[in-house]
């Protein structure tokens, strides 16, 4: 569904993403992990059209989308969320979601009805008339998800939707994401919450200093020495192995 080949982007002289290859088959949940500053968000921005990549190919359902503006990519069926939530602060939850729903529903009433249905799906039905500005963090994360969902994407890019949530809230949203996938939506998520990655993702890509250093099933990634070192520093894998012995 999504194919990335040789994606490279630099800011000034600094390489943010380098020669990234990525394959995401339809119907999967894949996770992109890596330490801070590894280039995850840059990669997302390039895939979703928020920055024009310097080099490389991005194919979505067989079509080259590198360099297309974000709204066109969204119309093709790929929607992203933002790590730092970007609610329409002055609007209610219903109106926020309806903006997304308008992509496929020209009629205002239809979009508002659709928004209510989506809110139900992500557990926000009780909050429909709340101004977005008054939502707590967990509510804003859900709203971000709901709005993206309302555009009826076939591929959903989730940028740290669990950061800042407590364990109960994480369990709720894990269930929600699973349900979204059951509904036929492919998901690519950036996530730091490992517990969620392990239970949700079937495919994990590890990004470090702009490069993919590992790719595989979550269990295999968890045991990979390179990954542990990327997270915990040079020599960490050896020390962990020593401690375990």
């Amino acid at each position: 569904m999504l194919e990335v080949r040789g994606l490279t982007h630099r800011f000034g002289g600094l390489v943010a993403v380098s020669e990234v290859d990525l394959d995401l088959p339809q119907g999967r949940i894949a996770a992109l992990i890596g330490p801070n500053g590894a280039g995850k968000t840059t990669l997302f921005a390039a895939i979703a059209g928020f920055l024009r990549p310097e080099r490389g190919q991005i194919r979505f359902e067989g079509r080259d989308i590198a360099g297309l503006p974000p709204h066109e990519i969204c119309r093709l069926g790929m929607t992203r969320t933002f790590q730092i939530v970007q609610p329409f602060a002055g609007l209610s939850v219903r109106e926020n979601i309806a903006v997304g729903a308008h992509l496929h529903h020209r009629d205002r009433g239809a979009a508002l009805d659709r928004a209510a249905a989506i809110a139900e799906r992500v557990g926000m039905a009780a909050l429909l008339d709340r101004p977005a500005a008054t939502l707590p963090v967990a509510g804003r994360k859900r709203l971000e998800l709901a709005r993206a969902l309302a555009t009826e994407p076939r591929l959903l890019l989730l940028d740290e939707v669990m950061a800042g949530l407590n364990p109960t809230e994480i369990n709720d949203i894990v269930a929600t994401i699973r349900a979204i996938r059951e509904g036929g939506v492919t998901v690519l998520m950036i996530e730091h919450v490992m517990q969620a990655v392990m239970s949700l993702a079937e495919d994990v890509y590890v990004l470090n200093q702009g490069r993919i250093i590992a790719h595989g099933a979550p269990s295999a990634i968890a045991a990979d020495a390179k990954v542990i070192e990327a997270y915990l520093g040079h020599g960490a894998a050896a020390r962990l192995a020593g401690a375990a012995a």
Partner: protein
């Protein structure tokens, strides 16, 4: 619509229709014509600045294009006003398309957009006052010939109803914005442009649509102004006073609301009129009070009169 609102709207409309027959003097009629005219201009500004959050400080450029468009077409080219008026409105929309096209294409927002619109208005003012074709520094007089085809009427009532119709058209456009996808997208862009892009909104096109609609409405008010006074000059048609007038009403009344600009215009002009009645026709006095009202509103009721009413009703 709930029945109370229907009653309110009906009463409002009847009062507006009966008003010119109820007011005793010509001065009062003039007051209402003026207030409605600037309310319509505020409503035009509100489309772009209120719903869209793109604050223009140069709406005089569209107003002036409408006023000069109809004047030049009649005086220099002999086009009857009935045809010149829609042409001038189209011209205003084109100017909007051009200014919006360059500004939004290059991503101007916030204060940069405000300054660029201000500069465009000044450029138009200087150009118009520099060429004999547009009356240079003297302005242009539309010859008096009171026939409907010239959009000139012997009775002031006609102008009152024309101004009322302009307000009605503007309110209808606002209602359309509040109930359409275009409007939802426009408001989304105001609230958060990045998020809007991520949800499939073509930000450039929506902004362009808003500025063209806003410019056309403002140009229509300019046409009315020219037909009403039968005189246009660069300083008053393209000058900063008109640009300020366009945004003052919406800010005071409540930007991004349907009735805010109308309420704001009535409050501002009512205040000016009251000051005149209380202290005599002192030059500048009404504007001092309007400026103070603006600052006080921003300080204590930043959501405008409509916001204040909503909050009060929420508490009640």
């Amino acid at each position: 619509m709930n029945p109370r609102l229907v009653v309110l709207w009906t009463v409002g409309l009847l009062v507006a229709l009966a008003l010119p027959h109820a007011v005793a003097s010509n001065a009062w009629l003039n007051f209402w014509i003026n207030t409605l005219m600037f309310a319509a201009l505020g409503i035009a500004w509100n489309v772009l600045g209120g719903y869209g959050g793109q604050s223009s400080f140069g709406h005089a450029v569209f107003f002036g294009t409408g006023a000069y468009g109809t004047a030049v077409l009649q005086i220099k080219l002999g086009v009857p006003a009935l045809l010149a008026a829609p042409a001038a409105i189209g011209l205003g929309a084109l100017v909007g398309l051009f200014i919006g096209g360059v500004s939004f294409r290059y991503g101007l927002r916030g204060s940069y957009f405000a300054l660029v619109t201000l500069a465009f208005a000044e450029v138009f003012r200087i150009l118009v006052s520099s060429f004999a074709f547009t009356g240079a520094g003297f302005g242009m007089l539309i010859p008096l010939d009171q026939r409907p085809i010239n959009l000139q009427f012997p009775s002031r009532f006609a102008f009152y109803y024309a101004a009322l119709a302009l307000v009605g058209i503007g309110l209808a456009a606002s209602a359309m914005i509040e109930r359409s996808r275009f409007g939802a997208y426009l408001v989304a862009i105001r609230e958060n442009e990045e998020a809007a892009k991520a949800l499939g909104i073509d930000v450039f096109r929506i902004k362009l649509g808003a500025i063209v609609l806003s410019a056309a409405l403002a140009a229509a008010v300019g046409v009315f102004y020219a037909q009403y006074l039968l005189f246009v000059d660069a300083g008053s048609a393209f000058g900063p006073a008109i640009s300020v007038e366009a945004l003052l009403g919406p800010i005071v009344g409540g930007a991004g609301t349907m009735l805010g600009p109308l309420l704001g215009a009535i409050a501002l002009h009512g205040l000016g009129e009251a000051a005149k009645a209380a202290m005599g026709p002192q030059p500048g006095l009404n504007l001092i009070l309007q400026g103070l009202l603006l600052i006080l509103m921003l300080r204590f009721l930043p959501e405008g009169l409509i916001g204040a009413i909503r909050r009060w009703r929420g508490h009640a």
